[in-house]
């Protein structure tokens, strides 16, 4: 059974089409990454899934039932913009959000999650005393405290340091282990590569990628050379068969033209440089994202 099925959904705002004939199937129990440049339609799609916005056409099914017939109690939602009542105490706030979903007290779950995310000592403090990262974690708890079957997280890692990002990732994996389906949108390609069973990319309202990471990478083939030289290499973009150079400082990635021989490129490279390492690889998700979204979107990301 699919946790979520989108069938040709479209949403327009006046003349602007935010989501255009989008179809998607999210298998139950998976972690599904939504990626896409800013303004591509991720949040609009998520809001339609949450029934906050209604599609102009198409239909949505959640856990096998039409969207209209299922309420939000089975779905946990963390919006892109964080919203917490600043004057409330954290435990009270989490209880409130949990009760809105479940209809009963969730104090034990609140305490479990506060402990898990290292926030126990903040439980009786007001939200306004929290740092941005801590607020983020509180918002995450508010999303999952009701044991939702489907968890939708819009940009859950924004504003988190690497330690807290890992804490949240572990929590997401645990939710999956306990049977929940997790959908999250992110601009962090490395994180998406690490945890997602499936990745979906939306660009200008249309689906441009959908599948497992391997399936997506296989579409592009092994067209990327990662090299490392003893000094900064020069003239890479003039080597025949190199389409594009991505300089990371200590290493470089070269996208090679279809039909070019990587060995010929290596030979040419070694004429002017001392090559320390050379690896033929599939493009990273980041690289794929940039290829699709283009230089303009890269600037925004």
């Amino acid at each position: 059974m699919n946790a979520l099925t989108l069938n040709n959904i479209t949403k327009t705002f006046n003349e602007f089409t935010a989501v255009d004939m989008l179809s998607l199937e999210v298998p139950d129990g998976s972690i599904y990454g939504f990626i896409g440049p800013n303004g591509s339609g991720k949040t609009t799609t998520i809001r339609m899934i949450m029934n906050i916005l209604h599609p102009d056409s198409g239909d949505i099914q959640i856990l096998g039932s039409p969207r209209a017939s299922i309420d939000n109690d089975l779905v946990g939602y963390l919006p892109e913009e964080r919203g917490l009542y600043k004057k409330m105490k954290i435990r009270e706030l989490l209880q409130f959000y949990g009760q809105l979903k479940t209809g009963h007290g969730v104090l034990a779950d609140v305490d479990f999650w506060l402990k898990k995310l290292d926030l126990t000592q903040w439980g009786n403090k007001k939200v306004e005393t929290l740092s941005k990262g801590m607020s983020q974690k509180v918002q995450f708890i508010a999303t999952v405290v009701s044991h939702p079957k489907l968890v939708i997280l819009d940009e859950p890692f924004s504003g988190l340091d690497p330690v807290n990002t890992d804490v949240l990732l572990q929590a997401m994996l645990e939710l999956q282990k306990n049977g929940s389906t997790v959908i999250f949108s992110t601009h962090d390609m490395a994180t998406a590569e690490k945890v997602c069973d499936y990745v979906f990319m939306i660009h200008k309202g249309k689906k441009v990628l959908d599948g497992t990471l391997h399936e997506i990478q296989d579409k592009y083939g092994s067209d990327t050379l990662r090299i490392r030289c003893d000094s900064k290499p020069s003239g890479l973009d003039r080597i025949a068969g190199v389409d594009k150079v991505h300089d990371f400082g200590q290493s470089q990635e070269l996208r090679i033209s279809p039909g070019s021989n990587p060995q010929d490129i290596l030979k040419k490279l070694m004429e002017d440089n001392t090559v320390l390492s050379f690896e033929l690889m599939k493009p990273s998700l980041h690289d794929i994202f940039v290829r699709i979204a283009g230089a303009e979107e890269l600037h925004h990301v």
Binding site: M50, N72, D73, V75, G76, P79, E81, G83, Y97, L100
Partner: protein, 437 residues
């Protein structure tokens, strides 16, 4: 329904647990009755410095009389009856010769003396005051002072002058005042209520219809309704605006529908207002009973008061929350709060004419216009007159239908506008959201 009530409970706790609510609960009646309390506290603190009054008497008839009247007052009426301490100022009267050729210059000079603090006031009596018909333009008594309209002396002068005028006219007509002993006995017109005939045919005397029953009770009920609306509904506008701009709304809408959200907020505000109402009505009733004023408690009106208050709060709550969803910032909220308060402000503006004639066509029509019904109908019902029995019911039916319409329209605006950020505040947008969703 559970979700609506849970949200309402949060709203309720968020409001009543604050120090502001407790302070407001205590301070509200203090502010409402502040002027009355101040008057009561300051009633014995009268300025008893002597008041020097100059009289310019063009009729030439009043010098002895006014001096005598002032003398009687200064010796008999300015002392406390219990301890003979002076509690009112002495009035001293000075007559000046009239400069007929330069009367205006003379009055100007006297005005300057008032400004310089030499004298308190001057009285200018026209030459034809005894027989106004002979020369109406000069049949006047003018009292000049820096605050003439509010000055007690002006009121005091009225009786001695008018009585003296009558005496002069009687004298000139050759009638001896002593032959008509009750000539200057003034009679009050007493305000009385209606008599009642009980089942046994006994006539029950009408009670005194005094100002407290006729004015104070309706005014207090009206003011209480106004204040409860300010406390329970008006804050919803800025609260929704803040929740929208702080993006709390989207989190909440992940759990409940926009309509449930709006309804929860309205019910929360209603609960806050009813809590305050309970405190004030309970406290007020207990106080009145304790002080022996139970007769003034309008028990028969209280259920109508509560029903009308609930309907008013629902109507205003829907109005405020929907307009709050449209606002993008505090400035927008401020602009919208003015028209949103019309259902409360218009009844306040027309309060006195309605109270004076509760059965007039104007009062009846205004009380049957739904946005104004809760306050105006309550005002009419609390007045001493008996309004036709069908009118409160008709008004209630109208306002319930109107409130349902406001809730419906408000919900349509709310669900569309609540997630929109930065959309300009335009009447056309609001109407489009309401009509087309």
């Amino acid at each position: 329904m559970y979700k609506v009530l849970r949200l309402a409970l949060r709203e309720y706790y968020a409001a009543v647990r604050t120090k502001g609510f407790i302070i407001g609960l205590i301070m509200l009646p203090v502010f409402m009755s502040g002027s009355i309390i101040a008057m009561a506290l300051l009633k014995d603190h009268v300025d008893i410095r002597e008041r020097h009054i100059v009289v310019v008497d063009e009729a030439g008839q009043f010098s002895e009389m006014l001096k005598e009247a002032a003398s009687i007052r200064n010796t008999q009426h300015i002392f406390d009856e219990d301890d003979s301490i002076q509690v009112k100022p002495v009035y001293s009267i000075e007559f000046v010769n009239v400069d007929t050729a330069n009367i205006l210059m003379q009055l100007g000079a006297l005005s300057d003396r008032i400004r310089e603090g030499e004298i308190h006031a001057f009285l200018h009596i026209g030459s034809s005051i005894v027989h106004p018909a002979e020369d109406p333009n000069n049949a006047f008594v003018n009292y000049h002072a820096e605050s003439a309209a509010l000055d007690d002396i002006r009121g005091w002068l009225r009786d001695p002058i008018n009585n003296h005028l009558r005496r002069l006219r009687l004298e000139q007509a050759g009638i001896d005042e002593s032959e008509i002993p009750d000539l200057f006995h003034w009679s009050w017109v007493n305000a009385k209520g209606l008599l009642k005939i009980d089942e046994d045919g006994n006539v029950i005397d009408a009670g005194a219809s005094n100002e407290i029953r006729a004015i104070a009770v309706p005014l207090v009920m009206m003011m209480l309704m106004f204040m409860m609306s300010m406390m329970g509904a008006t804050p919803q506008l800025s609260a929704v605006m803040e929740e929208k701009t702080q993006r709390i709304v989207e989190v909440i809408l992940g759990s409940i529908t926009p309509f449930q959200f709006m309804l929860g907020k309205i019910l929360g505000g209603l609960a806050v207002a009813l809590t305050s109402t309970l405190v004030y009505l309970g406290g007020g009733t207990a106080f009145m009973q304790w002080r022996g004023f139970e007769a003034y408690i309008p028990y028969d009106i209280l259920p109508w008061f509560v029903v009308n208050l609930v309907v008013l709060l629902f109507m205003l709550g829907a109005l405020m929350t929907s307009l709050g969803s449209v606002a993008n910032d505090a400035k927008d909220a401020q602009s919208l709060s003015f028209p949103a308060m019309f259902p409360m402000m218009i009844p306040m503006f027309i309060m006195m004419p309605v109270l004076k004639e509760p059965l007039s066509t104007f009062a009846t029509v205004m009380s049957l216009i739904p946005p104004f019904t809760p306050m105006v109908m309550t005002l009419r019902m609390a007045s001493p007159v008996t309004i036709p029995a069908w009118q409160p019911w008709a008004g209630l039916a109208g306002v319930i239908i109107f409130t349902l319409f406001v809730v419906w329209g408000g919900a349509r605006i709310f669900r569309t506008a609540i997630l929109m950020q930065g959309v300009p505040l335009k009447f056309s947008n609001i109407m489009r959201w309401m009509t087309k969703g």
